[in-house]
Symmetry: C2
Subunit: 333 residues, 2 copies
């Protein structure tokens, strides 16, 4: 049996806390004998949820916390003042080596700020990066960085490309992942100052499969595996992806409910359409890792259900087993 | 009868040149007695197209040009060397006041570079901006800037907000348009250095209806009318909009063709779905104006058909009749 992996689940974070968080944690244990779960949060509420489930004995630990960081709270202040919150306590456990990873569906800003401030960066990594998976027509791509640190430098983007490639290959199983930089044209001379400075650095960077510029139009078709950009642009891409997708699906559904004829048609296409739209739903791939930290911090959607939580925990297992942080560290030398 | 408006149509630009360009020009005259069209391009080819149509006498002029700028040509060089191209000749006519506006579906870079270099900026405008209309669930928004000039300064973005508001109100008929700045959070303290610097300037800018930050997720829902951003981000938004929309529609159509049952369903929903998707097609709103120039340059999609060309010509008419450039100039004082 391989080494145990200890994952903290922030049981109080997200729209569906604690129910779906606890359920996801319990579900993740099935068939994964190495996982040990630490649930941080209000003990009574967590125990109440656990009582509903058939949780295996001895593999789930509860660490009682008196505070909760709310979704809309200012992040820096929340991390500084709520020392006994489920998130801060969990991050402290990762920092002290009492846990390998933490999964949180809570306040995004607090997860990002707390991850950096409490867990800390790997030596040599200038900046951690949040790397969610986005769905494409062919499968998925990793979008790095969508984090909280804007105004990146070229050297940051090069490290993002390296860390993203390692994660994509070792954790998500994509061999020799194609790396592209988000640009406003396909040619090397196109771009803003940051992209122009980064392009030749990526071109000469060993150990990555750099394929050049990627236009936003081609991202949904799956034109590359690791999409490198600075956080402002990454955030715009991630959010617009959700926005356009959500609006279009809403409009398509509306057109199906227009009259009796379309409703009959809708009944006939329903299962096929549902299957198609499910393929374009990023949540099946679990949460977004904050790469470059001494330990793993995974941010899942605020609306996460048990399945996404469970998938995120399995990501953490894979991350530990593949020694991702050791590979990242060795890569820097 | 109000003043005549003379519009150049670059008959050789775009995937469907000259046929759809010539047809769009002829169509635009119907019911619009003030429009006078100048078709620039290869005379023989244009005359051949005109011969197929019932073009009104005396309202269409042809200016013969021996050269054509191809879609993929490097823009700066093309503008510099192809002096007798349909685009350069047309831009020169606008510069000399022989025409009020030009519509081109040709090489985007060449239209942007040529517009600035040949037609020139309005005095006081630091930078022109390309402002396409994007569809939303409720109607449409103006996205400014999606042009070729990246790495904008805060003062540029303020002028974009002003010009965009004027255009949205006077040409597209949206009263007191809501202006938002693209940001990675709704709060004033969020953003990169450029957005943080621009935000208070927009807040204190007279004559615009600034509503604050807009997250990319909310753009498709139509949360504001004038979406201000620098060109790199604007280009990403515009292209990703097309990309996600195109991919999702392609996937939905695929799910409808899966088997006999879904094909029957597809037949029943077809017209309703088509109508819905048409509402989410930006081309119905015509081309994108390059605002801030001494004259009007409108860039339409490379794939434009006659309808988009005709709509773009009517945009030019509205632009002239509403004295947009005078309003922009007065606004700067």
């Amino acid at each position: 049996m391989s080494e145990a992996i200890r994952v903290v689940v922030d049981a109080m974070g997200g729209d569906n806390a604690p129910g779906e968080l606890v359920k996801g944690a319990v579900d993740s244990l099935q068939g994964h004998d190495n996982i040990h779960i630490i649930l941080t949060g209000k003990k009574a509420a967590i125990e109440q949820e656990l009582a509903k489930m058939n949780a295996p004995k001895g593999r789930i630990e509860i660490v009682d916390c008196s505070e909760v960081i709310e979704t809309a709270e200012p992040a820096v202040n929340a991390i500084r003042t709520k020392k006994d919150s489920s998130l801060v306590v969990g991050l402290q456990m990762v920092k002290k080596g009492e846990a390998d990873a933490i999964v949180s569906a809570g306040n995004s800003g607090a997860v990002l700020v707390g991850g950096q401030a409490i867990v800390g960066r790997i030596k040599g990594i200038e900046r951690p990066a949040l790397a969610p998976v986005i769905p494409t027509e062919k499968g998925f791509s990793l979008l790095i960085d969508c984090g909280a640190n804007v105004d990146a430098r070229a050297s940051h983007l090069v490290q993002f490309a390296q860390m993203g490639s390692i994660y994509m290959e070792q954790v998500l199983g994509v061999k020799n992942p194609r790396v592209g930089i988000v640009n406003i044209g396909a040619e090397e001379e196109k771009g803003n100052a940051l992209v122009k400075e980064t392009f030749p650095l990526l071109k000469s960077c060993p150990g990555i499969n750099f394929i050049g510029s990627v236009e936003a139009r081609d991202i949904p078709a799956g034109v590359c595996d690791v999409i490198v950009c600075e956080a402002f642009v990454g955030n715009v891409i991630l959010k617009l992806y959700e926005g356009v997708g959500g609006t279009l699906i809403h409009m398509v559904k509306g057109s199906l409910m227009k009259n009796l004829k379309t409703k009959i048609g809708a009944a006939l296409i329903q299962s096929s359409l549902k299957e198609t739209l499910k393929a374009f739903d990023g949540s099946q791939y679990g949460g977004a890792p904050l790469l470059g930290l001494k330990g793993l911090v995974v941010k899942t959607h605020g609306s996460s259900k048990a399945r996404e939580v469970s998938t995120s925990i399995h990501q953490c297992e894979q991350f530990k087993q593949q020694n991702i942080n050791e590979i990242i560290t060795n890569n820097l030398m």
